[in-house]
Symmetry: C2
């Protein structure tokens, strides 16, 4: 029988949450990375029935000891051989310290490790995690190759409130210099007027849109002071697992050091901006697919967000959440690149540091 | 942006072991089912660093209470909506009883549930599990649509030692009648002379092969007394996760009741035999790929099995195990059906019951 030679993109270790139903954490990250050809080693930091956004969830959290034990046995068995590391949600300060301590050892052993640290702290002004987790992530930032905070996580990590160009630059500078992160990707930041005005003209969305319609994604590499950005339309309502999918796609598309050139290509792309462009394009296409599928559901599964009604009738929220789970399986050809989608290419933001 | 309509094969709940590194249990089953288009709900019965065949492994086992809690919350959240159920390894009698008790409730609520119960008990004459697990599986057999024991598990479940045609028929009859299992697939049974002589001529492998070179796979449907079989060459050495991959592919390829016809097609295939033919063909192709990749490894990672040397030098066994992990990612196009492989079609064994 003819078999083709084994193809592989390499090996990646993913450390994040697991849910039985739906697609957040590892469930949003592992399958896409496998589709991209990675052998994914999977350490589950929690085993929950479903994500916490449903309001009701059950299961167990891995303790720091359990996580350390798994890392230690993998190490003894010479099974810690990933070229890439992806860490996401970890429950509590002790377990987070176990994960970042492990990342430190792995980084020391393998200086060319590509480590994407997604500092899962919160969103939209609200912390998901205990405040004790913040300094642990801050201490771990220098280990990362790439970080993918949203705007709120940037604020929490840097202590800088982002309200204008100066504070945005200051926060980015803090991440690059104080925390020595080579590549910072702000996965999403609302396109308020100050940010729209700050963006180079060719990066701005059509002028007839209101502020809340768009988000921006900003990718900044320390070496060469290269910043790229792109705006993308914000779909109505909240989808879970989007950041987890995005981070997985960024680390999956980021080129290995051997194939990487820090030089800017003729079209203005860098290794980081290209990886983020692919991740953004695929994540957005998956969201559109999910949004369209949610619209086709029976009315009770696509109810608008209403906290008052939700409080009175918990199943209302649960059904809405269920209807808005990422259509990762149905959209797997988007991940694989065999279904054509719009390429949302990040563009150079040449005057980011000097404007 | 144009997106195609969401495609889905349906939803399947997989309850089995999880390992961080390598491909057994859920790690061998979930990704293939996702590639086949299934939304897979994943409940992890253990979270281990690697499979137990490495000799050294760490992690935690889910307790009966933890599993019951996850099922219960999923039920309360109306997230128990799978059309299919796949259960594999569960650690210990209490947890097994929690899983089969849950399967009973799901079966009662959904009479057309397709439940593939893989009674993971042992192999090659050795029990992996506590003997207390056996009666729990026996009591659960009537819930199953399909079971996929190996020959040893058939012996343990039926209490019948299979040494000839009569005992094979008796064991199969016990599973169909005493335990009311509609579809029994003996995933592998060594092709000893008595079995080779029993098989219809067109099913026998080339006559110049020795007994130990081949295994047989036997699929029997109670309705219509339809039995099919196929022989396949046995690859040297032991590969882990093969049965888990095979069972996942059987349940993934088994047609839903709506599209199912119990009538035998013109080419002699039945819904069961066709599903098993696909599962066998893909599993075998994956094994060939894995075997070839293992041969290409450095010598220390493809050492022959030698228990004496292994005992003196545990890393010897560990490296061999690592070299023999299924190449599931590299072979994903085999699963998806986009890479052509030999179709190992099960053939009717028309005189099985009367020979």
């Amino acid at each position: 029988m003819a078999t083709t030679a084994p193809k592989t993109s390499g090996r990646i270790l993913s450390i994040q949450s697991h849910v039985s139903y739906g697609y957040v954490g590892g469930k949003a990250a592992v399958f896409p990375l496998q589709c991209l050809g990675y052998d994914v080693d999977v350490v589950n930091t929690v085993n929950f029935s479903n994500h916490s956004g449903y309001g009701r969830f059950g299961g167990s959290r891995a303790t720091a000891e359990e996580l350390s034990n798994i890392f230690s046995i993998m190490e003894q068995n010479e099974l810690l051989v990933p070229e890439r590391l992806l860490t996401g949600y970890v429950p509590g300060a002790e377990a987070t310290a176990a994960v970042t301590g492990f990342a430190k050892r792995l980084r020391e052993r393998k200086p060319d490790l590509i480590y994407l640290l997604d500092p899962v702290l919160g969103d939209s002004g609200r912390l998901y995690v205990s405040p004790e987790v913040v300094p642990i992530y801050q201490a771990a930032l220098p280990l990362a190759t790439i970080i993918t905070p949203n705007w709120f996580e940037v604020e929490v990590l840097t202590g800088i409130t982002i309200t204008n160009g100066q504070s945005l630059r200051q926060a980015m500078k803090t991440l690059h210099e104080t925390y020595q992160v080579p590549h910072v990707v702000i996965s999403s930041i609302p396109l308020k007027s100050w940010l729209k005005d700050l963006l180079p003209t060719h990066l701005r969305p059509p002028s007839d849109t209101s502020d809340s319609d768009y988000l921006a994604c900003i990718a900044s590499s320390r070496e060469g002071d290269l910043v790229h950005a792109q705006c993308f339309p914000c779909l109505p309502g909240y989808f879970s697992g989007v950041g987890d999918l995005f981070s997985a796609l960024v680390v999956g598309h980021f080129p290995a050091a051997t194939s990487q050139s820090q030089e800017t290509a003729a079209d203005g792309e860098t290794p980081l901006s290209r990886a983020v462009s692919h991740a953004l394009s695929k994540t957005h296409a998956m969201l559109v697919l999910t949004h369209e599928a949610a619209l086709a559901l029976p009315e009770e599964e696509r109810l608008a967000t209403d906290e008052e009604l939700d409080a009175r009738e918990p199943m209302r929220k649960i059904r809405r959440m269920r209807g808005r789970e990422l259509r990762l399986i149905q959209g797997q050809d988007i991940i694989r690149g065999t279904q054509p989608i719009e390429y949302r290419q990040l563009q150079p933001w040449t005057d980011f540091w000097t404007a």
